[in-house]
Subunit: 740 residues, 2 copies
């Protein structure tokens, strides 16, 4: 049994010894250093980009500007509005205007200073709600009011349902621009061998990168190879196209020499962000504790280019409803251009913002109505068989269990000893639950190669980014094939080597790629049985493959032996798994996801009423995991989500001045450190009998912010609606409360 065992990560020793081959360490023969020259204006026409002096700097090999690019050099998941580098206009501070390939970083940086850029400034707008006002500057002429997507969900008669409500609540919750903050920055190396392009990319989606590069450069996909080594984190920030086109375009100018770009932390801040969001929830409740209606209006700040937002914002729509029975639901999920860096996926994508809203409002309602927040939730949570706002019937949902497990761990706890120096401390408890769709139409393929020494190689385009996906896949393969975990090697992603996978994101891999691995295993076993049948002189139907052997009633042959006796050095088989789902574009009705991610959290906080300082005393996270592949890694995912989630909850916010990020470093933009980990942190993974394999990379993150906000209100009676919940905001709110 390989599934259910807490085997160590496949490369854990290499990780500890610092020997993982991260892309920042990649060295290629004759490799040049790439450097990006970026816009200093938030919105301007480019009058001149003069590289004459820069090209004179010794060591500079080539410089790429918009003049090198054809009309096809624009990309974007649905709207091709983003140039490989800016051509005649820039729309945010930090937008690439040129790139330099040089023998050294010093030479590149010297040249960067010598590129002469002349701007004609245009007026700018940074806030989504301002950008949709008439008179606001337009970023893209095709979208005069800056709205590039508007997703609608229409379920039931909301107006009639509000009329039936005893109380109607309307609140607006905001999340600021934030960073995915993977420790490894964006890195890409590219090399052209004639018309053949090889790209080494720190990406979550190698096949997406390949396809987009093919479109941009007008070459066949089978001439492009995208290789992805182990990533040092990604969290959605590497989920779509980033600097890969720029690196490939730069490398096309260097006469076959490879070029590598490694972004600085400051560049990270202008490369991709978490969508700033403003979410207004209008919710009708009845005195019996049930809902009548909910209307959601979300403005997502997409930044200057649509990027992946047209894929994410419809998901944000579905993810904004919440895990409660509400008969009538309308959602408007609106994407808006502003003069900020493009926004993209962020761990618990879109749910991080929407759960903040709906779980905060749950407590506002409960407190105003005089109900216990926990009981109010438990009474309304979806159970299997309920209908969701998309019209789909829910299966295998365990929200009640998740919340009860989280609450039980919290309520069963004995009181914590007082924390030294926290004399002013007031304590409170809060809860949060989340419901998240995964990516809907997607596909995974896996290939297996069994060698005649019994070793198994699994070829997968699932990206290992520290989450342990390759370890999980090796466990699934070992279990399915009945072979030792230690015999399995995992290879990929490399689009030349490993078969198609849509993306490593949305916690889809354990389920989708896991099922592809199961299918490949089944194919290998079938083949082994066919090959063994004549050797065992038994019909294939009477044979079974287990524990590395094909068995008849009395006799058996090890897999390796079956190959050898058939003169096979190796055999290869593939498997695949796909899901398709579709919502009506007018009403958002249909099937939105093959599976719902489910998580909950319970938290006890202490608030220092003198300083506003918030201490997380204990946090209990729970998630529904179907069937757990690796208990220890699953628990670490749950824990990691909580710690990660404390960042946007308590401290993370990109500060801007005229479109310029003013805290683009991890000193001024703090992320949770070891000292921010809750005094007590408990994780519960809920399994179900005959549960499927599921990813759990995000489920315990979105509940963190509202659970903490709810606990703070429980402790000191103030309600914060704008993330992050800083000490300053608490103090200000306490002051306002005491001086009504």
């Amino acid at each position: 049994m390989a599934i259910g065992r807490s085997v160590p990560m496949l490369d854990s020793v290499a990780r500890v010894k610092g020997e993982v081959d991260y892309l920042v360490n990649l060295r290629l023969l004759n490799m040049l250093v790439g450097k990006i020259v970026r816009s200093q204006s938030p919105h301007a026409k480019l009058l001149k980009v003069d590289t004459t002096s820069a090209l004179q700097v010794p060591g500079v090999v080539a410089i790429l500007t918009g003049a090198d690019l054809g009309a096809s050099a624009f990309y974007g998941a649905a709207i091709k509005d983003q140039g490989v580098v800016a051509v005649d206009r820039v729309r945010y501070v930090g937008e690439p205007i040129a790139a330099i390939a040089a023998e050294s970083l010093d030479a590149a940086e010297e040249a960067a200073l010598l590129i002469d850029v002349e701007y004609e400034e245009m007026s700018s707008v940074f806030d989504a709600r301002e950008a949709i006002q008439s008179g606001a500057p337009t970023l893209h002429e095709k979208y005069p009011n800056n709205v590039f997507i508007h997703s609608r969900l229409r379920h039931g008669d909301v107006e009639a349902a509000f009329a039936e409500a005893d109380e109607i609540f309307e609140d607006t919750f905001t999340s600021p621009l934030a960073q995915q903050s993977s420790l490894e920055p964006h890195v890409t190396a590219a090399r052209w061998d004639g018309e053949q392009l090889t790209v080494w990319a720190a990406t979550q989606a190698p096949y997406m990168v390949r396809r987009v590069l093919s479109e941009i450069f007008g070459i066949e996909q089978n001439k492009i190879r995208v290789i992805v080594p182990s990533l040092g984190g990604a969290y959605g920030g590497k989920g779509h196209i980033r600097i890969e086109p720029l690196a490939a375009a730069m490398a096309r100018k260097t006469n076959g020499r490879p070029v590598k770009f490694v972004l600085s932390r400051a560049e990270e801040f202008v490369t991709v962000t978490k969508h700033a969001a403003s979410i207004t929830l209008k919710t009708g409740v009845k005195r019996d504790g049930t809902f009548t209606a909910r209307q959601v209006t979300i403005y997502w700040n997409g930044g200057a280019y649509a990027d992946a937002s047209p894929l994410l914002i419809p998901q944000g729509m579905v993810r904004s409803v919440g895990p409660y029975r509400i008969p009538a639901v309308h959602v408007d999920s609106i994407g808006v251009y502003t003069n900020l860096p493009p926004a993209g996926a962020y761990r618990g994508a879109m749910s991080s913002q929407t759960t903040w809203a709906y779980e905060s409002q749950m407590d506002i309602i409960a407190r105003r109505m005089g109900w216990d927040p926990l009981e109010f939730r438990l009474g309304n949570l979806f159970v299997s068989g309920d209908q969701f706002a998309t019209g789909e019937t829910l299966h295998d949902v365990h929200f009640v269990e998740c919340l009860e497990e989280a609450a039980k761990a919290m309520n069963a706890s004995s009181p914590l000893a007082p924390i030294p120096k926290m004399g002013q401390g007031k304590r409170g408890r809060g809860y949060g639950v989340m419901m998240k769709s995964t990516v809907s139409t997607s596909k995974s393929q896996a290939r297996m190669k069994l060698d005649d020494d019994g070793t198994l190689t699994l070829f997968t385009s699932t990206v290992e980014m520290g989450q342990g996906a390759h370890t999980a896949m090796a466990q699934i393969a070992a279990e399915a094939l009945g072979t030792a975990f230690e015999m399995v090697r995992v290879v990929g992603p490399d689009t030349e080597i490993t078969p198609f996978d849509s993306t490593t994101s949305a916690s889809r891999s354990t389920n989708m790629m896991g099922n592809a691995v199961l299918a490949a295993s089944a194919a290998v076993k079938k083949k082994l049985i066919e090959l063994a049948a004549p050797l065992l002189e038994t019909p294939a139907e009477e044979l079974r493959a287990e524990n590395g052997k094909v068995l008849a009633n009395e006799a058996f042959i090890p897999y390796a032996e079956i190959l050898k006796r058939n003169g096979l050095n190796s055999l290869e088989e593939s498997g695949e798994y796909s899901t398709a789902s579709k919502l009506d574009p007018e009403t958002g009705q249909g099937i939105s996801t093959p599976h719902w991610h489910q998580g909950a959290g319970a938290v006890e906080v202490e608030v220092d009423t003198e300083t506003g300082k918030i201490t997380i005393l204990r946090y209990t996270a729970s998630s529904f995991a179907g069937r757990i592949v690796n208990p220890r890694m699953a628990q670490l995912q749950n824990d990691g989500n909580v710690i990660f989630g404390l960042g946007p909850t308590l401290m993370e916010e990109m500060m801007l001045d005229g479109g310029q990020v003013t805290n683009p470093n991890l000193a001024d933009y703090p992320i949770p450190s070891i000292r921010d980990i809750p005094v007590e942190l408990v994780s519960v993974c809920i399994e179900s009998e005959e549960g499927e394999l599921h990813g759990i990379g995000e489920m315990t993150l979105p509940p963190v912010a509202p659970a903490v906000a709810n606990a703070i209100e429980d402790a000191v009676g103030v309600r914060i609606k704008d993330l992050p919940i800083t000490a300053e905001k608490i103090l200000q709110a306490l002051k306002e409360k005491s001086q009504p």
Copy 2:
């Protein structure tokens, strides 16, 4: 239709421009130069290998000697007698004793001179027939009489059959030690990344290399990656294990730095050779022109190590019988150790030696019996339905057609104009026919990836070595899938990327890998039809896939569109093909091959009776090709075989002095040049209706030597039985004839 078209080779432009990535040009980051230190003694105990001084040379990074190696560091296809480097004994001049890895070739060469080797000489033997005499020195204690293999074929009662003969002929024919002489030498680079080994090898058998390295180093096969770029020729010389183990062992001592070995031409001569052979044929004929019996005794000079000889010598047994109906046949095919470099496969392996014997004797018999050599052959050649000496029934054999086509082209020719300065010229005509088994038990797998832009990538471990195999595979794939040839890219071999194939040798690839490609194509089409069925709203059984589309009666969808509409970026399918055959080890009875290679030649020569100079006036080569994939490339193969075959016929012979090769360079060991090409060279490829795809890399080679010898006897009445047929031998024979 992609099959049957003379498309240019896939990389023809790169070839013309000198841009093919031959391994000699490979540069890796931090790569070291490898240099082999070789034995200067043909047979000695190694008393000392002292590297102390050599290690002091600046730039020397590491030195490998026998002391580094474990007991497992011996290899060989059947007998593991060959060390990665010599441990305590050397058995031929040129045997590796040590290897040096250095920053430069100069440093390595300086260090090589400083390695202090002390020998205790032992007596040596170089000739196979001497080596089996009692009292000859023994090379390997396990084989005291130096015979390491003795293959026997026993078909019918030979003694009784000889008794029925009217005449019995007994002749011995010899072939000397010769070189495969690919222009690219043996090259291997190796790099260890921890326990992971990557080898870039100029080999015909990447999976064989992987398996042997796994055994030598005791690591799992899935931790070894063997990459094979395009080869600059191989001709069997790269068909088994050569310097790959040594390169890998050397690289293990360099702390992760890759090492590349490029052999010099002189080293090529001591790395692998064509088996020197002495073949005695005893043949009984009746006055009616039929055979009664044949007894064949072959001594193959295997050199100091068995290498691949235990696989080749049983094949030599089958290939020594010839394409004629002979009721009783006995063969003894005997492999003998001598103090010479190991022998291996050589284009037209073993047939080159055996055809020389049996086709020379055909003319001896015909002339002595007063029969026309052509008619004598035609009257006895096998036809389909005949039984071969192994007991198997022959199918799809076209020897008569091959010979008739060759003869027709010759006899229909008008006389050539006299050649200037050849006043003493006498002209004659000769014929040769050959029958060759291919490798018997073997397997090919192919994988295809269809991308959603309609491009197809074919993954194959078939080695491109200038023969055009990748082009042929692309044509087969394009035809089978009904897609444009230009859309197909071929990748491989790379054991990490491309699936298993036994070897690229014995002209097996077009047939075996071709069939695997057909199987993969069928799987892709099946999958496309399944995916298209719901789109076309037609049951899969009523759909067909042709010309890049799936078609229903009224409607169709292009392949690319089927993928896109199913949300698939690509799809992958595999196919395989295998053959198994087996001969009884005591009697050689059974099935020896899935297919017989068939070729013939007719030649007109002019012999200068004053100088002995032989001029090939015209040569007509014919081969049976089943169904021809690429007519132009097929013709070039036929032509190339003839030109190649003129080398061992007229000029090639390794000269030795005390086991030391005295002509190890292409000045003193001439191979055919452009000036040696026949004045007229014609090729005929014979196809059959519904013929299978067949390789034709060797068929017109083995007949060259006997056809020329036969034409010489026709011209000047002398018979040469020892290759090569030099002017000196002709003059000597003419002199002996005129002074009886």
